[in-house]
Symmetry: C2
Subunit: 192 residues, 2 copies
């Protein structure tokens, strides 16, 4: 028996990442959970930013931003970037985070995050008080210590943070349940 749930913005799980952008010497930083990959041709993410966010005009002016994936242990810095309005170099310092140059865009990376997506804005779409920014992923870089010998990201070494809406908590990723593109094969064989 299903029951009505009061909130309408619940999706499990959500990422918890730091968005950075810069324009003419000003640098912005904010925490975002409303973000997802939406295309592979080219690789494109979409994220919703409330239109009062300080980082949004920097993204609009520069046409670039970075998506920085924090690791477990960085919850205080991440959370601060979500609850502290405004931006600027002072916000980075107060969060204990350091801007670093990206490889392919002018937007800064968060040096402390083990992985970052570098994005160029390709479209924007307004939904109410939110601006949905589409960003083509032009480069991904990760710290050597989260990469396997063959250059793939090892999610256990990455140890990313998940945002849980509703009860509003951060959680780590948990145990492996199954291999994707594999565990469903017996059902596919049976369906033939």
């Amino acid at each position: 028996m299903k029951r009505h749930v009061a909130s309408k913005t619940l999706l499990y799980p959500m990422p918890a990442v730091l968005i950075a952008a810069g324009y003419e010497g000003e640098i912005g930083l904010c925490a975002v959970a409303w973000i997802g990959m939406v295309s592979g041709t080219p690789a494109t993410i979409a994220m919703g930013l409330r239109n009062v966010r300080h980082t949004l005009p920097l993204i609009e002016a520069s046409g670039e931003f970075t998506v920085n994936v924090p690791r477990a242990g960085m919850e205080a810095s991440l959370d601060f970037c979500g609850i502290e309005a405004g931006g600027g170099a002072g916000k980075w310092a107060a969060a204990g985070l350091t801007p670093a140059p990206a490889a392919s865009v002018s937007a800064p990376l968060v040096a402390e995050c083990p992985m970052a997506l570098e994005c160029r804005v390709t479209a924007m779409h307004d939904v109410g008080d939110y601006r949905v920014v589409f960003g083509e992923v032009v480069e991904i870089q990760a710290d050597e210590d989260v990469l396997t010998a063959d250059g793939n990201v090892d999610v256990e070494l990455l140890d990313p943070i998940t945002y849980v809406p509703g009860t509003r908590e951060y959680r780590a990723l948990g145990r492996k349940l199954a291999d994707a593109y594999s565990v469903g094969k017996p059902l596919k064989e049976r369906a033939k």
Copy 2:
């Protein structure tokens, strides 16, 4: 020291959900990881569907779909819905899943999933071979056994599935790291 990563479609973590839609008696079902909340006014999700997906024309024709959150243990059914092309009632049966009526849309729910978002299409945006569908969340329902006494979703009872790109695996959510909107407050106090 950061290194280039070959893939450009990595974001951690990603959801792993089942999208259902129906039109004139035909019902479709597919697995999606490229989805995220993008607005709160009104509550709106965006998801990227490759334009060959069988479920997409059903979403376009009916203007409605449901986002069904499977729980740990349902990996085989979920994975099957990702690797099996096409759709129809036979796909539901082969996946071991049952269509059930939704509360506010004509699209079916997946009865076995403990939680579902009911959505109405508000916009579409093409990015390469993918169509990004914007859906306003008009209703969320959840099984009583995943709800707390005060009607909130308990994520440990829900036990949702995460998709890990790159190494392509399903994982459960893990341990609680911290309370959001709280763990960053000491940094905010210090920043004043």
